[in-house]
């Protein structure tokens, strides 16, 4: 479809006391054919339009709708600008879907920021009038708002975006070898796979890669269990299921994860956290391929390919008496160790390409050379997950700051520090179990939210804080949550669970600094 045929007839309302401005826009060559205009020269006429029920494709709005008089103090002029900014809110309330472009003679960044935060879609500086550029901007703003409206509805739910099945990326010889190994073992359900490596190296991704490459199980369930996320007392029922009445809260029969993974693959993450009793039961399954749910009288035969993962050194755990030797020996039948990212830096480029969705030859259109250099130099103690989170965080910072490129300032402090010192200060906090004692306002147990969801939640909170200037009740309202206490609670809980994430959100850290002391 050609660009020309894409053009629609737009109806634009210009709100400005400068009659010549109305005339110049109306008569601009690019607007002559496909645009029609209505005019409001003062606030009174604007109000009439707002009450009339008429809708426009776009509004072009000047902030000051009265001429400046002699003897007008700077405070008076500022007051007029503030009134103009407040007007944006009023317009937005009456016309939530109409794009608003502020066009003014005042090229002050703070005014532009305020205007955008109050609901304007773009800010144009009149002395830089360029009809072609303005027309493109108008069209873009109209299209962006339509898209933003759709996204807004989706974002409200905080539904975690399920990542697409990611190929197991890397060009290093180590990753190449691991890919080959995973392909080999994908259709060997008799071989229990134990994937080891530091936090964030991609153990889960490797497990999915295995699933994807299984000819027989690709279309069958891939069930994930993060052992560390389950309260110890609930692990048995979670894995093996429970009959109604098997324990106090068991009001119905509950299918365990192993049953859900029947014919497919069960990915047991953080297997090193498993308690001894549950280890015993798991061992039994590995040996007999049968389970007995809690309170059940009979065993159930299952066909599940077990893929386990841990960042612990299980050998040491066995030595320390924390892990059963026999289970360990059955699990380590096919061990795969994924090296840390700092030991295979050649993989950083392809991972960045993937997370940024941009080829490496176009990196200079995404970030400054400084940034690129530091990204390759940093040690990535949190490995691929840290890299992914960092990319997300940089993009958030870029968007919030309104930059065309990711700059040094968008980097997390730890990476910025590289420029000053040679050391990374990123710490991995020990993973704690989250107590699911949250106020049950939304009926959602925060303990169920994983890292990706936490990041999305923090992103939304960061944006809301900036938009609402840190007014916490307004932030809660913006997020659709009942109270500001819930905002605080969620930040606190995420901080306890994933403390490394918060370094990417300076506004949250500023507004809730007591949480981070």
């Amino acid at each position: 479809m050609s660009k020309e045929s894409n053009k629609k007839n737009y109806r634009i309302l210009i709100v400005d006391d400068d009659i010549s401005f109305h005339k110049d826009i109306r008569q601009a060559p690019v607007f002559l054919q496909h645009y029609e205009f209505e005019n409001a020269y003062d606030a009174k006429t604007l109000d009439k339009f707002l009450k009339s029920g008429v809708q426009f494709g776009l509004m072009v709005l000047d902030l000051v709708l009265e001429p400046t008089r002699e003897h007008e103090t700077p405070e008076k002029i500022k007051e007029k600008v503030e009134t103009g900014l407040t007007r944006i809110k009023k317009i937005r309330a009456a016309w939530p879907n109409t794009p608003i472009v502020v066009a003014t003679n005042h090229n002050i960044l703070s005014i532009a920021d305020k205007a955008i935060n109050l609901g304007a879609d773009a800010f144009l500086y009149k002395p830089e009038y360029n009809p072609e550029e303005w027309e493109k901007r108008f069209r873009r703003v109209i299209e962006d708002r339509a898209l933003a409206q759709e996204n807004e509805d989706l974002k409200q739910q905080f539904t975690p975006i399920q990542p697409p099945i990611a190929p197991f990326l890397g060009i290093s010889p180590q990753i190449e070898t691991i890919r080959q190994l995973l392909k080999v073992v994908a259709d060997r359900p008799d071989l229990t796979v134990l994937i080891t490596g530091e936090t964030g190296v991609g153990k889960g991704v490797a497990a999915r890669f295995l699933h994807y490459n299984s000819q027989t199980r690709r279309d069958k369930p891939f069930v994930t269990v993060d052992i560390s996320n389950i309260t110890p007392s609930l692990r048995e029922s979670e894995l093996f299921g429970a009959m109604k009445g098997a324990y106090t809260d068991a009001k119905t029969d509950k299918k365990g994860r192993l049953q859900m993974a029947d014919d497919g693959i069960l990915f047991l993450d953080e297997i090193g956290e498993l308690d001894k009793d549950t280890q015993a039961k798991l061992l039994q399954f590995v040996q007999t391929k049968t389970i007995r749910p809690m309170g059940a009288e009979k065993d159930i035969q299952l066909d599940v390919h077990i893929v386990a993962a841990t960042n612990k050194v299980l050998k040491e755990e066995v030595k320390n008496g924390n892990f059963r030797l026999d289970l360990y020996q059955r699990l380590k039948v096919f061990p795969i160790e994924i090296p840390p990212l700092r030991d295979r830096r050649e993989d950083i480029e392809i991972l960045l390409e993937h997370f940024l969705n941009v080829k490496s030859r176009e990196f200079d259109k995404v970030f400054e050379p400084d940034v690129r250099h530091l990204l390759f130099k940093y040690d990535w103690v949190g490995n691929v997950r840290e890299l992914e989170n960092t990319v997300l965080s940089m993009k958030i910072q870029q968007e919030v700051r309104g930059l065309s490129l990711i700059t040094f300032e968008c980097l997390p402090e730890e990476i910025q520090e590289l420029k000053r010192t040679a050391q990374s200060v990123f710490h991995i906090a020990p993973i704690k179990t989250v107590q699911a004692d949250a106020p049950a306002e939304d009926g959602e147990a925060i303990g169920d939210v994983n890292e990706q969801q936490s990041l999305i939640m923090l992103q939304a909170i960061e944006k809301a804080l900036i938009k609402k200037n840190g007014v916490k009740n307004d932030v809660a309202a913006e997020l659709g949550w009942k109270s500001s206490d819930l905002v605080r609670y969620r930040i606190k809980t995420i901080h306890e669970k994933f403390p490394q994430l918060l370094s990417h959100f300076p506004e949250i850290r500023r507004r809730y600094k007591k949480l981070f002391v």
Binding site: D18, D24, Y129
Partner: protein, 254 residues
């Protein structure tokens, strides 16, 4: 040492020269073409007599010299007051050791002294009113309006509009001529005062361009070809840029 000076009443520097000559100092008239780069000391005889008015451009000169020749000794001289400042000379009561006085004077960039009020029109105030307007639009707002029509004309040329159509759309109603006249009214009123200012050459350049552009507005035809030949759009853009270069030298611009 050579002391460069600016004055409109030639009797005054002549009188002054009699004193400094005796001390081995030489008075040299300041020439815009030469600029300030070789000036060790500069004396502004204030007020100056420009356009039938006494004007005091002292603070404009100090700010300008402070930027472009910060180490230079900048002094003002006149009959305003008995000298209460290290940098202001009372001509009726010159110090015995003028050479020493000049050596001890503060530099142009030193913020610890302000020129005395010599009683003329405060040129910083005049410049401020020129740029800000008074109850009117600022000069930059005027240019913002002025340049919209050329932007539309250029856009129309890019889209291969017939010249007659361009004329009909953007020039035939005289609106653009009216906007130009609004600028010209202000310009003609203020320009004669600018002859006393350090960046007068820029204003002179603006005057030349304005006169050239005025040929288009004075022509009866309103011919687009004439518009292009004279370079009206480029000329207005150049005037705007020159004003933008001058603006930082003016305090109080909104």
């Amino acid at each position: 040492m050579d002391i460069f000076f600016l004055a409109t009443n030639q009797s005054v520097p002549a009188y002054f020269a009699q004193h400094v000559g005796a001390k081995g100092l030489r008075m040299m008239p300041f020439l815009y073409e030469d600029g300030l780069s070789n000036c060790e000391a500069f004396v502004l005889f204030s007020p100056l007599y420009v356009n039938g008015h006494y004007v005091s451009p002292d603070s404009v000169w100090k700010k300008y010299c402070g930027q472009y020749s910060p180490e230079m000794k900048f002094l003002t001289a006149g009959f305003a007051n008995p000298s209460t400042s290290d940098n202001c000379l009372e001509i009726s009561d010159l110090p015995d050791d003028l050479s020493q006085f000049i050596t001890n004077a503060k530099t142009a960039a030193d913020v610890n002294w302000k020129p005395t009020d010599t009683g003329g029109l405060d040129m910083m105030d005049v410049l401020c009113r020129f740029f800000n307007g008074h109850g009117n639009e600022s000069i930059m707002e005027q240019f913002s309006k002025l340049l919209r029509i050329p932007a539309n004309i250029q856009s129309a040329l890019n889209l291969n509009f017939p010249l007659q159509r361009i004329y009909n759309l953007y020039l035939s109603d005289g609106d653009w001529a009216g906007r130009w006249q609004v600028f010209l009214n202000r310009w003609n009123r203020y320009y004669p005062f600018f002859a006393c200012l350090p960046f007068y050459p820029k204003f002179r350049e603006i005057e030349k361009i304005a006169q050239k552009i005025n040929l288009f507005f004075q022509s009866d035809e309103g011919d687009i070809n004439l518009y292009l030949q004279i370079g009206c759009s480029e000329g207005i853009e150049t005037i705007k840029n020159l004003l933008a270069e001058i603006a930082p030298h003016v305090e109080g611009i909104k």
